[in-house]
Every structure is written in structure tokens, then in C-alpha cells.
């Protein structure tokens, strides 16, 4: 058992011939992901790395029975690509792209939830189950098989923390990037439910940031429903209000979404919050 994906998960990449799509598809192959196809309109019938068939459409790629798709197309085309995947009933839709209008994301997320489809992202690093499956753009080298589940709103910071967890002698059962946008497919509460059920997971790390109240809701949920050990890190303590810190979702608006509020919420739920990324492994001990 594992969270969302495993070694049998069949993955396609929408936009596999693009610069990013091709690079990360290659990395996913190296990781060992079961990459069964890709799409690129007009390039159907050709191959990616002599091994992975390319199709003109998701409808055609369904011959490969994919369970998940990574969408790597430019922001204006993400809505179309996501609905193409949803329409075909692919169960996990991961959107790599940044700068998707959140009105588009709202529609994608609502329609997917009606159909029992999980959306990852937009603007996140994807999901990795060490030793089994990586969908997304996390560096291959930082993982070790273990029992720590990590969920994060960031990319590079996630790698930093995962690396320090691995470095400290722990390993990961799963690492999920929720995405840095104000509207994304999964919340911390959603993944906490999965982590609590997952037998491979013994400890949980949440990497939050300023903006929204995703972390506060998670803290409430942990109090009531999570039996496993949870630790957290929150970034953006030093961010001034009203300024977006890179991520579209990382902004303190009218006093809502501050790091203080999130840290307080976690601590009141018995979740220790690391002062620096490097302290996360200490809290896991």
C-alpha cells in the first residue's frame, strides 16, 4: 500500500515534446516511473526516447490505460489539457504549470471532484513514492525509502527538507507537493487523511507557508483525527503583508495567512514547528 501512486501506476505526460515535458519525462524514466505514453498534437506515432509512444490526444493515449497524467503545457492551455484528461477519466491529474488563472483551476478542481479525480497542483513539484513512482519534477537523488510522509506547498524548499530528512537517516514513504497557487487540487487535510490511512507512513511532515488558512484547517483536523506524529515547518515569517512572495498563494492579506497564526495553530494542535528547515529531522526523532 502507498499513497495515490505505486510501482504499477501507469503515467502519461501531456506535452511530452516540450522543453520541460521532455526533460522531466526523461528524469521520471530514470527514476523508474512506469511512463507509458505522452501526448503532443501532430506528433502521434513517434516515440519518446525510442521507448515511450507519443499520441496526438489523450483519447488516443488511453490505449495505454494510464492511471495518471502530468500536464506540462503553457498556462493558457492548461484548462483544455486538464479537461481532456478529466473527460477520459484519468484518475490522477498533476498540473506542473505555473501561472494558471485561478478561475480555470476552480473549474478544473470542481469538475474533477465531481468525478472522483485527484488534482495535484497547479504549480507544484508533483508526487514521489521512493522506490516506486515519481510524477513531477523533484530531483531523483534526494529520496530514501522510509516511513516519513511529506506534504508541502513549495518546490525547492521541499527538496531541501526531504534532503535533510534523508541525510539525517530517515526515509520517506511519500512526498507530495500541493502547489504554490491560491487554488490547488489538494489541501493538507486531504493528504492528512491519506497519510493517516497509509500503512507505510509512521510520521508526517507538513511544509506550509504564508497565505490562506490551509495550515490552520490542518491543525484542527490533526487535533481530531490524526494519530500519527506530525511535525511542521512554516516559511514566510519575515514576509511583509500585502506582498506576494513568489508564489501566487503566498501573500498575507489583511492579517489573514500570517506565519504566526499558522505556527500558533500547529503548536496548539501538538504539532512542533521547526525554526529552520534543517531542524525538521530533529523534531522527527
Amino acid at each position: 500500500m502507498s499513497v495515490l501512486v505505486n510501482k504499477n501506476t501507469r503515467v502519461i505526460v501531456q506535452g511530452i515534446t516540450g522543453h520541460q515535458g521532455a526533460f522531466h519525462a526523461g528524469e521520471m524514466l530514470k527514476f523508474g516511473t512506469k511512463l507509458v505514453g505522452g501526448t503532443s498534437p501532430g506528433k502521434g506515432g513517434t516515440m519518446f526516447q525510442n521507448d515511450v509512444p507519443i499520441f496526438d490526444s489523450v483519447a488516443d493515449a488511453m490505449s495505454q490505460n494510464p492511471d495518471a497524467t502530468m500536464i506540462s503545457v503553457a498556462a493558457p492551455f492548461v484548462r483544455d489539457a486538464a479537461f481532456e484528461a478529466i473527460d477520459q477519466g484519468i484518475k490522477i491529474v498533476y498540473i506542473l504549470t505555473e501561472h494558471v488563472p485561478f478561475h480555470d483551476t476552480m473549474e478544473i478542481v470542481h469538475e474533477a471532484s465531481h468525478r472522483g479525480i485527484t488534482v495535484l497542483g497547479p504549480n507544484g513539484p508533483g508526487i514521489t513514492v521512493p522506490g516506486q513512482c515519481k510524477i513531477g519534477i523533484m530531483p531523483n537523488q534526494i529520496f530514501r525509502n522510509g516511513d516519513v510522509a511529506v506534504a508541502s506547498r513549495s518546490g525547492t524548499l521541499t527538496y531541501e527538507i526531504v534532503y535533510s530528512i534523508t541525510h539525517a537517516g530517515f526515509g520517506e514513504s511519500v512526498v507530495i507537493g500541493l502547489g504554490g497557487d491560491p487554488v490547488v487540487g489538494l489541501t493538507f487535510v486531504d493528504v492528512l487523511k491519506m497519510f493517516e490511512k497509509d500503512e507505510a507512513t509512521k510520521k508526517i511532515v507538513l511544509v506550509g507557508e504564508i497565505g490562506g488558512n490551509n495550515e490552520e484547517r490542518a491543525a484542527e483536523y490533526i487535533k481530531a483525527h490524526v494519530s500519527k506524529k506530525v511535525v511542521a515547518y512554516i516559511t514566510g515569517r519575515s514576509a511583509p503583508p500585502g506582498k506576494r512572495m513568489g508564489h501566487a498563494g503566498a501573500i498575507i492579506e489583511k492579517g489573514v495567512g500570517t506565519a504566526e497564526s499558522k505556527i500558533k495553530a500547529f503548536e496548539s494542535a501538538g504539532v512542533p514547528v521547526a525554526e529552520y528547515p534543517v531542524n525538521v529531522p530533529d523534531l522527527l526523532k
Partner: protein, 395 residues
């Protein structure tokens, strides 16, 4: 270039499409622009015109309001709004406001607007509710003040399913909650329905009318207009061209170059990759009593030039020192190392540069830097401590 600030490489094709994107920033429209949009969608607004210089001013005809066009809550209390009951007051008001500074913001435009005979002030807005991932209606019969100051039991709230959109029953619920009679109620419902269309069609994060004025003769009119658009939607709104006035000149320059960049008031320049890691770097500096001069997310890149350009931006902010914190992934450590060396040479940097490099191609990077007289760290905390220490030593 870092249109994709998190961790993405840019293909040339994407660059073209994104060339007018600002980097995850909000797009606040001035009142007069918001009202233009309202007018276009049939939401009643007072008659008005914009004055940029005194010669734009027309002859006094009716009692008017002279409103400075700045993006600031509580303009009125700060003296940004004048009332004119005759030609002299009109001229005085315009002269006083135009070119003035209000809480640090320059007034380059004023709006001359018919004065409303106000009987009551209401509040209505539609915004993104992040937790519900849905449009969210807020309405109250207590308008004209910040909605945060209105007691909860006087505020109507309602989530809208984005796939269903707005339908009239929501308006009926709001009207009942607010206790509007049928004449006001039907006006309110029409306004709310159009406001939803604005929110949706114009890709807004917020549309707010505060106050929504009930005039003495029973009409509902939007006396103010706050519209914030999603900057990521600009490919659908090529007619919009707004420069956020809350940005500093340097932030605007960074934005035009595609960097996620925020100026702060410290003295340590920060360059890192990924929004989260950049914030974490600033946080760690702050906890160590260091003061970051800026937020600069290098994004996912494999170009030396982008690193050099980032240095140029940070140098313009004139920090005492520079901290580079890279966890190599898509952005390879050796690329950044080469960029640092090139920038140091190009700009003849003598200020302390403290570098932490880790991850992909870390060893190559370390080699490059050492060769050029920089001893990089592989862990973050020692680098933080080092840069704070060295900055403190500078006069």
C-alpha cells in the same frame, strides 16, 4: 528570465505567450478603471470624468466629489477626497489633490464625480475563497466602513459553485438577509448578478462596491469600485495595462524582466531558487538578526545570464552584502556558480558574497567558486550565520 519562479524551465514558445505576464502579482485597478468596467457591464455608477491636469477640468455644473485616484483604503480620512459645491471649491479641490502625496502615494489623477444624495450605504463584494476554492459573496446592510469592522451577524456570506455560476436565488437570499424592500431588492439582485459576471469574465480576485449607495430617490449606485484582477489571466485581457503603484521602481524593473522580486528594508541581498526556499532563507536571516534587503527567486533556470541579471537587480538595491542560497535541481549548482563568478567580474563586486550551494552538480560548482576565491557552504545554516556576521562587521 524567471516567469516560472518556482522550478520550471522555459521553452521559447512559452516565453512569447507569457511576455506580458507579471509574476504572480495582483493587479489592482484604480477606482476610475473599476467604474469603467462596471459601466460596461451595466452596474450603475455616478457620472464622472478623470482629470490629469488642471486644464482637463470642466465647468462646475452640479455638486461634485473630487477623488484622488490612489490605491489606498480610507482615502477620505487621509484627506484624499474633497467636496465641491461650487466652481471655486471644485478648482481648489483639484489643485489641492493633483500632484500631492497621500500617505506616500502620488496623486496623478483625480476623479470628478456627481455627488450622491446618500440615504444609506451598503456593502457587496465577490472574492476568491481559497479554502472553498470558490467565488464568495459578501454583502451587508452596513456599508461605507471596512467590512472587517461590521459585526458578523450583519454579514451575508455565500459560496458559489464555479461550474454552476450565480443564479438568482442567491440574490434573493442576500436581499432577505439584508432586509431590502422589493424595489431595492430587485436593483440589488441585478447589481449582484452583473458583479458576478464581472468577477468571472474579467478574471477577478476581488470585486467590491463599498459603499453601494441608496440615494434619497431610491436608486442603488456604486459609489466606489475596487477591482483586483488575476495577473495570470492577462493573456485573456490584452486591453488591460496596469502598473501596480504599490511597487517600487526596482520591483517594477524586476517584474518587467520576469523575476519574483520584493524590496525590503534590510541590508543583506538575497538570491535563492524557489519561492519557499527564498522565504525560508529570509526567515532564517531574520531569526539570526540579519535583515534581508530583498526577496529574489531565481526560479528554475539553466542560464548563466539569468544569474548575472539577478545580481544586477540586487546590486541596484545597494545591499551591504549578498547571500546566495541554491538547492540544485532543475537549476544546476554549477550554472549558478558560473553566474556568480561572471557577475562578480562584470560588476566588480567587492561586497561580501556568501554562497550556499547544494544538490545537483554541487561538486563542480564548489570547484568553480574555489577557483575564483569564494568558499561555498553546502549547508544553509552556516551560510546564514556567516553572512549576518560579515554584514555586521561592515560600517
Amino acid at each position: 528570465m524567471a516567469f516560472y519562479s518556482c522550478c520550471l524551465i522555459i521553452s521559447p514558445k512559452i516565453l512569447v505567450i507569457s511576455s506580458y505576464l507579471v509574476n504572480g502579482d495582483t493587479l489592482n485597478l484604480y477606482e476610475y478603471m473599476g467604474k469603467d468596467i462596471f459601466r460596461r457591464y451595466g452596474i450603475p455608477v455616478p457620472d464622472s470624468y478623470v482629470v490629469e491636469k488642471e486644464s482637463d477640468l470642466r465647468k462646475f455644473e452640479r455638486p461634485s466629489v473630487v477623488k484622488s485616484q490612489i490605491l489606498l483604503g480610507g482615502r477620505g480620512k487621509s484627506g484624499g477626497i474633497k467636496f465641491a459645491k461650487n466652481q471655486k471649491e471644485l478648482e481648489d479641490g483639484v489643485r489641492e489633490l493633483l500632484g500631492s502625496k497621500i500617505r506616500g502615494l502620488s496623486v496623478t489623477k483625480v476623479l470628478i464625480e456627481d455627488m450622491l444624495n446618500i440615504k444609506h450605504e451598503y456593502y457587496v463584494s465577490i472574492s476568491l475563497n481559497r479554502s472553498e476554492r470558490s467565488p464568495f459573496i459578501i454583502a451587508s446592510s452596513s456599508g461605507g466602513v471596512e467590512i472587517e469592522s461590521v459585526p458578523k451577524e450583519k454579514i451575508f456570506t455565500r459560496k458559489i459553485d464555479p461550474l454552476l455560476g450565480y443564479s438568482d436565488y442567491v440574490g434573493r437570499e442576500a436581499v432577505k438577509f439584508m432586509g431590502l424592500d422589493s424595489k431595492l431588492g430587485s436593483q440589488f439582485k441585478a447589481i449582484l448578478s452583473k458583479l458576478y459576471t464581472v468577477f468571472n469574465e474579467e478574471d477577478c480576485e476581488l470585486v467590491e462596491i463599498n459603499p453601494l449607495v441608496e440615494t434619497a430617490d431610491g436608486r442603488l449606485i456604486a459609489a466606489d469600485a475596487k477591482v483586483i484582477m488575476d495577473s495570470d489571466s492577462m493573456f485573456r485581457h490584452k486591453d488591460i495595462n496596469v502598473v501596480d503603484p504599490e511597487k517600487t521602481p526596482l520591483e517594477l524593473e524586476a517584474q518587467s524582466k520576469g523575476y519574483a522580486f520584493v524590496e525590503l528594508d534590510g541590508d543583506i541581498g538575497v538570491i535563492a531558487n524557489g519561492a519557499g526556499l527564498t522565504m525560508a532563507t529570509m526567515d532564517a536571516l531574520t531569526l539570526h538578526k540579519g535583515k534581508p534587503r530583498n526577496f529574489l527567486d531565481l526560479g528554475g533556470t539553466d542560464s548563466v545570464d539569468i544569474v548575472v541579471e539577478a545580481f544586477e537587480l540586487v546590486l541596484k538595491a545597494n545591499p551591504k552584502s549578498i547571500l546566495v542560497n541554491i538547492f540544485g535541481g532543475v537549476t544546476k549548482a554549477d550554472t549558478v556558480a558560473n553566474g556568480i563568478v561572471a557577475a562578480k567580474e562584470k560588476f566588480n563586486i567587492t561586497k561580501p558574497i556568501v554562497v550556499r550551494l547544494s544538490g545537483v552538480h554541487e561538486d563542480e560548482a564548489r570547484e568553480i567558486l574555489k577557483r575564483n576565491g569564494i568558499e561555498p557552504f553546502s549547508m544553509m545554516m552556516p551560510a546564514i550565520e556567516q553572512v549576518v556576521k560579515r554584514t555586521g562587521e561592515i560600517e
